[in-house]
Amino acid sequence: MKTDGKSGIVGYGCYVPMYRIKVEEIASVWGEDPERIKKGLLVEEKAVAGDDEDTATIAVEAAKNALKRACINPDDIGAIYVGSESHPYVVKPTATIVGEALGVGNSYTAADLEFACKAGTAGIQMCLGLVSSGMIDYGLAIGADTAQGAPGDALEYTAASGGAAFVIGRKNVLAKIIATASYSSDTPDFWRRPMQHYPRHAARFTGEPAYFRHIGGAVKLLLEETNLSISDFDKVVFHMPNGKFPLRMAKMLGIEKEKLADGFVVSKVGNTYSGSSLLGLCATLDKAKPKELILLASFGSGAGSDAFAIEVTDLIEEKRDLAPTFERYLNRKIYISYAKYAKMRGKLKD
């Protein structure tokens, strides 16, 4: 997909709730070997939203941070898209709660998006289209989730809470989006039917025909469109359903694993679904240097991947410290027991 070559990220911000649960704590409930799980998933602990937090509150806190770095008035925003698979309402948008909480006014278009774990990057593409065509000056794209995993399911070790927000515009960009490409197909690897609390997944089918095929496909399309080679990228962020998948994807594409290090948020935060790759992008931008080229590729089950070639500008240096970094949220933590986790996430029913 062609962009105008000027538009990009004007501000970014993340939010990670302060509660954490360790793999050992979950494994002790289900009689599993924590070392085997940690080695298998490359995840040590995950972030858990408090019982007074949900996708809307996470989205608002992340967006406030993005606005601080964007240095714009809230009413300059012309579009808000919130991507999530845990919107607080089935009918009633999260995006307008965000708009009201930020003081965006009333002159904006908004919608909630759902595409499993990639709805946030779909929001970035939508904002990019509106901004580069001149229809709006700034758009706000958010990926946030309080991810669900059924008690005892393998997902419970990774399904986490968190989010990230991006102000997309043409002026004062801290990172230009050079190009974006998407690869989509009807692949039922993971789903949640109406009225169901927890998703179901097709176990190993989530790998080869889903995650690897779609991210691989989107990255290939991106390289063809930009005439870049994979070695041109300095930093790489892939969706992180666990630690193993992105590392294997990197190996398949011939990317050194060191290039994933800055954005490898999964081992200490878990899989924040729509927030996952975008939190990784925030952590990468927190440490990025001007002129660096970042490859971002999300993945959403069902299935699709959005890939982006992002070039960091000189403005990163002055904007970085205007809001809390990912690391600051990472270090602000309180460990909880499985019982408290079950209460907080509504897993205890009357």
Binding site: M18, D52, A56, T57
Partner: protein
């Protein structure tokens, strides 16, 4: 059990509840939160305008709630405090975060949180809580 509240009443207060918009009297300079209909000091000579508070302050006093009103039972024990905002007004709210830091005079900042839900099928009430920094 949870209580049901008026949807229009909640909606009219979004600006104050979500964003801490109070008001200021142009005659005497006093800042009010929640916003007042008239300035109690200047009465008919007062002229009020909207005023955006920054959302930072310190704990003036606090208490720990163990016997909660309906709708809040599952949150006990939780901390309710009077926060003295940097601009002057005092507001009542819940303190969240690392409660080992809880103390009179401790610094807090406003964070957007879920306050309560009108049951499983009613609206969700959002607003500001105060996180220890």
């Amino acid at each position: 059990m949870s209580h049901r509240s008026s949807v229009p009443l909640a909606w009219r207060r979004f600006e104050a509840r979500y964003r801490l918009v109070g008001n200021r009297c142009l005659t005497c300079g006093t800042i009010y939160f929640p916003p007042k209909a008239i300035c109690p000091k200047c009465r008919r000579k007062g002229k009020l305008e909207k005023y955006q508070l920054k959302g930072e302050g310190k704990i003036h006093t606090y208490t720990i709630i163990h016997a909660a009103p309906s709708g809040f039972e599952k949150r006990v024990p939780y901390c309710i405090a009077i926060i003295e905002l940097d601009e002057g007004p005092k507001v009542l709210g819940e303190v969240v975060g690392d409660l080992t830091l809880l103390d009179i005079g401790a610094r807090v900042r406003a964070v957007f949180r879920k306050i309560y839900e009108d049951g499983e099928d009613g609206i969700i009430h959002y607003g500001l809580k105060w996180e220890l920094v």
